[in-house]
Point group: C2
Chain length 246, copies 2
């Protein structure tokens, strides 16, 4: 199993108002680690784009013990742990300078045919570079709990902006986390720290789309949904810790 | 004159859909260079916050020859060039790996009393650390041209989000550039490259504010205004180059 490591320092513009690494940046750094590994193994974007294939992330699970502070140095380790003909499971460990694990991200990836946006079989010559373990069934991440039909929710409108689109011509994954976090009142965000996130992507949003970020907020627990019209684009559940109690 | 240099590599999440460093990131990197210089000189944020003082940027002027691409390595050089009792003028040079200048940022800074948000005299023991040249009058950056009373404009609404606020508890300066760029149609943004920006801050926007980003777009030239209700928050002019012609 090829493990790979990158090092990052938290800069002020990567932190939120608490002075700690923002939620979207956690995901950006995870994806950066996997991108750099793919580039290093010679199977980066140029390589698979030539065959009309692209990687997509289907689901994220994030466990946060603590978020690193501005100026803190962090290592992010990753590997393509397990694969079957269609899916890869890829964990990410965020370690502080004492090699203590502070964040763990798990993720399920697939490849799609860029043209028709349909799932594609993972090419053997690409996947074997990562020296991942071939398995029959990829261990699944449980589905996030859904906002029930009879449950109340609050919602905000967001517009997909020009800068939400990255060089892949798609909405940067981390933007979903921003929309999901932003719909919660600042008073709550400033007194609570997220400890767990499970987010599953369902349907792509595109430049110019108007989306609704919906939340049902309970006791240190929230359920989220991103809607484009009547279509569910993503669902998630978050767990929170009361900051003021510690 | 103390010059200072940082090095950065353009990561995928710092680029826009063109694969080049996004406009807000140009400003974030400039501010990072000056922040790191202040920290290194022992007059960083902790030092001036203790006296109830904070740096604010009043105006930016940006000349863009070309924006660096994903994976490109860039040096950013800065110094506090000139100061008088109230203002500092600070240039930033972005150099590529051949030491060619690709972006030049100029900026005017002042210190404010955090409590009453009023301008403060620059403390001698702080400013002397930068070994800047003391002058009577700071060379001014011309005011950006304004959208005239009789001129038409288009506008979009934006809401100040939780993640727009940085650890200084204020809207990150670079967000103004995002709002100003985003109001222009994607078709234009994808066929034109900005070459010059002059942005002047007038009144702070705050978390939860609804702002209007207004633009009068002419021939490779645009005038911008950020409004909070009837109050002008910032004004700017941009120059553009037609990408499709080259």
């Amino acid at each position: 199993m090829q493990t790979y490591e990158i090092q990052r320092q938290v800069e002020y513009y990567e932190a939120d108002t608490t002075g700690k690494l923002s939620l979207p940046m956690i995901l950006n750094w995870a994806v950066l680690a996997s991108k750099n590994q793919s580039d290093d193994l010679g199977v980066g974007q140029d390589f698979h784009l030539e065959r009309g294939l692209g990687w997509v992330i289907l689901q994220y699970e994030v466990n946060i013990l603590r978020r690193p502070k501005i100026n803190e140095n962090i290592k992010i380790q990753t590997c393509a742990a397990k694969y079957n003909p269609f899916f890869v499971r890829r964990p990410f460990l965020f370690l502080d300078k004492n090699d203590q694990e502070i964040i763990r991200v798990d993720s399920i990836w697939a490849m799609i045919d860029i043209e028709n946006r349909k799932m594609a079989r993972l090419p053997q010559d690409i996947i074997e570079k990562y020296q991942a373990e071939k398995v029959k069934k990829i261990p699944r991440i449980p589905n996030p709990a859904q906002i029930g039909h009879d449950e109340p929710f609050e919602e905000n409108d967001y517009h997909v902006r020009f800068l939400d689109i990255d060089a892949n011509k798609h909405v940067n994954n981390s933007k979903y986390f921003e929309w999901m976090q932003d719909v919660i009142a600042p008073d709550y965000l400033l007194t609570h720290e997220m400890t767990y996130i499970n987010l599953k992507f369902e349907n792509e949003v595109r430049l110019g789309h108007n989306i609704k970020s919906q939340v049902n907020l309970g006791d240190n627990y929230s359920k989220h949904r991103i809607m484009v019209g009547d279509v569910v684009s993503a669902e998630a559940e978050f767990e929170w810790r009361d900051n003021t109690a510690t």
